[in-house]
Subunit: 309 residues, 2 copies
């Protein structure tokens, strides 16, 4: 099974309104509720692709119960979240019908106690030996140490489990130093980590800081990968317009899916780009359109050079 | 006990953000969660004033459970809500710190089935004989017949329990025809009911349509009452600025509180105006500031004429 870690799970709500106008009252015409947090999103895509996946991390309160109830209904997905007292945060995406704009409201994460964090670490150590790969995704809620991901990366490496890290800021900086197998920053995260806005230079620099492989997301322009096996650029066949929510999480799912099937890097990147495109084009934020995925998969252009062994 | 009916209960969330800007992402700095729906708000003010109060109506889902958990922690308040399958709606008030503006997002109410509605009616009939007064408050969720309040008014009158109706639109129009003891429309609701924007003329007309007494809210300018005993105008000592959320519900609580203590109309109106003012001035939307209440109470100006018997 593939293990995904979501320390800051979320109940993601999407509200449809006619047009969002500050200082007025709005009737929400449609409410969509789904489990969220980046690792949860990755897990749902992996499960939809046919993988057995286990979700661990932290969840609490009535919102945490709703997240877990949604997960319980997802085939091939096992809920191994550690319960906490503080309530799982809500995120609200307000979609204006007239403009198509999305306005995001993100609650702060719950306070996590030292004993809750210790309980999670024990659970993580139990789960690692059974995992073919692990993804560490998203922000840290209050109370979780800023070096949390560095410790989780080290534990995975000790257990011999390939580990992908997808976070930002100081947790990313510290996590990279613990030498994860893959990081998947977007352009902003990569620039914040390395100080460089040149993707080629920045991916190289991120590897020098400790990441074994760097897969940088260039948004609608695809992915750039720098690895010991070679460097590649994977580009979708056309610029796809739509809602980018969850596109990065789908890319992570694509990378892990192909990694656990021991496929070569160009195939991993094609799968990641096609899943991203299929997420951008899905009717519902964070879902992916299987038709688009299958149609795009064979048309992703991967160019690059294999390293001299 | 005083009975309040909330057919469309709500989980009221207040989000504080720095400044709400459409099509951007916001970190919510503070989340406040409280039980809502107009009848629930009325009940909480009545309980805070020292009255025994029973809350009935409809609640369901995880959001309904949260509403009920909050109510269970309120002294002097009994939860007699009828459970339904559909989830109680959320309302979100987004307060911008920079401007002080409030942007409201209201989810639609849950679908109510005929058997759920029948179960509520049976519960209401059981509760009525023990009530010293009943307040019917707020909107109707989908599935509840538009003439619902008219039926509830008639049942209260048959049981000899004074009944106050606080709603709008067609439910108000039909409810008024069933001859409630008191209605408490605001200026817009009164104009919609009667077609007149002149408060004096409109209150008179609303009585002609069936309401025994009409207490019209004139916002920061206080209340106008037209009753068989006389006509009065109650005005706060100063124009108070603040958040008007819940001010109307506090006025209803003031009217019911004084009515069940068999106090005369001018005292009822003073209490209603002082509670409204204390709600507008409270730090938290929908709460009331007891210091402001006590300070304003003796300074409300009531002018009017007693009817010739």
């Amino acid at each position: 099974m593939i293990l995904t870690v979501t320390l800051n799970t979320a109940l993601d709500l999407t509200y449809r309104v006619r047009s969002l106008r500050p200082d007025t009252s709005h009737r929400v015409t449609d409410v969509l509720e789904r489990p969220g947090g980046k690792g949860v999103n990755v897990a749902r895509v992996l499960a939809a692709l046919g993988h057995e996946v286990t979700v661990t991390g932290l969840a609490g309160g009535a919102t945490g119960d709703l997240v877990r109830a949604h997960l319980a209904r997802t085939p091939r997905l096992t809920d191994a979240l550690t319960p906490i007292t503080g309530p799982t945060r809500r995120t609200i995406a307000v979609v204006s019908e007239l403009s198509g704009d999305t306005t995001q409201l993100n609650e702060p994460g719950p306070q996590v106690s030292p004993s809750e964090w210790a309980a999670f670490l024990a659970r993580y150590d139990e789960l690692l030996p059974g995992a073919s790969a692990v993804a560490l995704c998203g922000s840290l809620p209050p109370g979780v140490p800023v070096g949390a991901y560095a410790g989780l990366v080290r534990a995975a490496r000790t257990a011999g489990v390939p580990v992908l890290l997808d976070t930002s800021g100081e947790p990313l900086r510290r996590g990279v130093a613990a030498r994860p197998d893959i990081i998947k920053p977007n352009a902003d995260e990569l620039a914040e980590l390395t100080g460089s806005h040149d993707p080629l230079r920045a991916t190289r620099d991120a590897r020098r800081r400790g990441a074994h492989c760097v897969v940088a997301s260039l948004g609608p322009r695809g992915l750039l990968a720098d690895t010991p096996e070679g460097r590649w650029r994977a580009t979708p066949p056309t610029l796809l317009h739509g809602n980018p929510t969850g596109a990065g999480d789908s890319a992570v799912a694509g990378l892990l899916s192909a990694l656990t099937e021991q496929l070569p890097w160009p195939t991993r990147l094609s799968r990641a780009v096609a899943l991203s495109a299929a997420t951008v084009r899905a009717a519902t934020a964070g879902e992916f359109d299987r038709g688009v995925y299958e149609e795009v998969l064979g048309r992703v252009v991967v160019t690059g050079e294999v390293s001299a062994a």
